[in-house]
Symmetry: C2
């Protein structure tokens, strides 16, 4: 990412989210490495491939914020369904619940899936967004564990006998799709040696 | 729709589509009742409820065309899946095919579904779009008939022993979700008594 070297960030990076739980996870992983603030913006949710959706969202957010933005999308991709519900998981979870999501795979022996997190960073309204994808393989199981964070109770990551919902937060953060993509974000920022125009902070 | 009475259309209505088959169906049903032209525009496809998606698309299209537009979206909604895949049917068809769509219902005895067509008309960039929804109930079946128009081979409308794909076009046009929504479009235009500013035609 040599092109980004020396870039001056005139303002803290705006992380666009309406989800307090996501913000909490992001803070826990990024720590103080990047000055960021969060903002709830009503952005259009697009259809398409995960990376394309994320880039387009970053473009729109950077235009609205008129500054550096970080956006995040999460997908739950069933291998037997060729990656679907994928970016539409929110609607499928909302309408079908955990049992209905399991039912989608009734016809298949293959219950494998992956959790995908895509962050896109746009330095400003005229910058091409950069995408960071983190993937955690696992399988879809009947729900186990607390039901307070989306589809976590039905996703069991490979090598664990607990679902995301059953794992302690620190344990989950070590292997989660979100932590993997955020690690890429973090090292990009470290490598890019951003300088900050402190008067605006 | 009294508010639309007396509206002067400065240009033919632009029907936004990239699908030649859809254009053919629309022409067959609308005939010469409305002066329209077709245009392929690269519009964003949004997530959400079908009517909201359609309205937003009309807004964006009217801005781009800077004139009256008609946009169309088609959904295939499985009752056991609370209306899903719905607006995402395109991706599900593309990735899973006809067999995969049938498989989504493996866990359910209820194979009922409905085909939904939503047209939205916006008179111009500053007009609130008006929505016309047509629905045809039926059920999801293993594919029968020619495979040249999307999911037509797996949708059998109620009261018929043929799938959409097996029905003669004229027969399908009498009962289809698209013809029902277009009938609403047509009568709206008739009722609204549009006048046309002929010099621009």
């Amino acid at each position: 990412m040599a092109a980004a070297r020396g870039l001056v960030l005139s303002r803290p990076v705006t992380f666009v989210t309406a989800n307090a739980k996501k913000l909490e996870e992001v803070r826990a992983i990024l720590g103080n490495s990047i000055p960021f603030q969060s903002l709830k913006l009503d952005l259009p949710e697009l259809q398409g491939e995960p990376e394309d959706i994320s880039k387009e969202k970053a473009r729109i957010a950077a235009l609205q914020v008129n500054g550096p933005v970080l956006v995040e999308d999460t997908c739950l991709c069933f291998n037997a369904l060729k990656g679907l519900p994928g970016p539409y998981i929110k609607w499928f979870l909302q309408k079908l619940g955990h049992e209905g999501l399991n039912n989608l795979l009734m016809a298949y022996d293959d219950k494998s899936a992956y959790a995908l997190c895509v962050f896109s960073f746009a330095a400003g309204p005229d910058s091409e967004p950069i995408t960071f994808s983190g993937k955690t393989p696992g399988k879809i199981v009947p729900p186990r564990g607390p039901n307070d964070f989306g589809w976590d109770p039905i996703f069991e990551p490979d090598g664990y006998d607990q679902t995301y919902a059953q794992m302690p937060k620190e344990e989950k953060n070590k292997i989660s799709h979100r932590s993997k993509s955020l690690a890429l974000v973090k090292s990009h920022f470290a490598e890019a040696r951003f300088t900050f125009d402190v008067k605006n902070f």
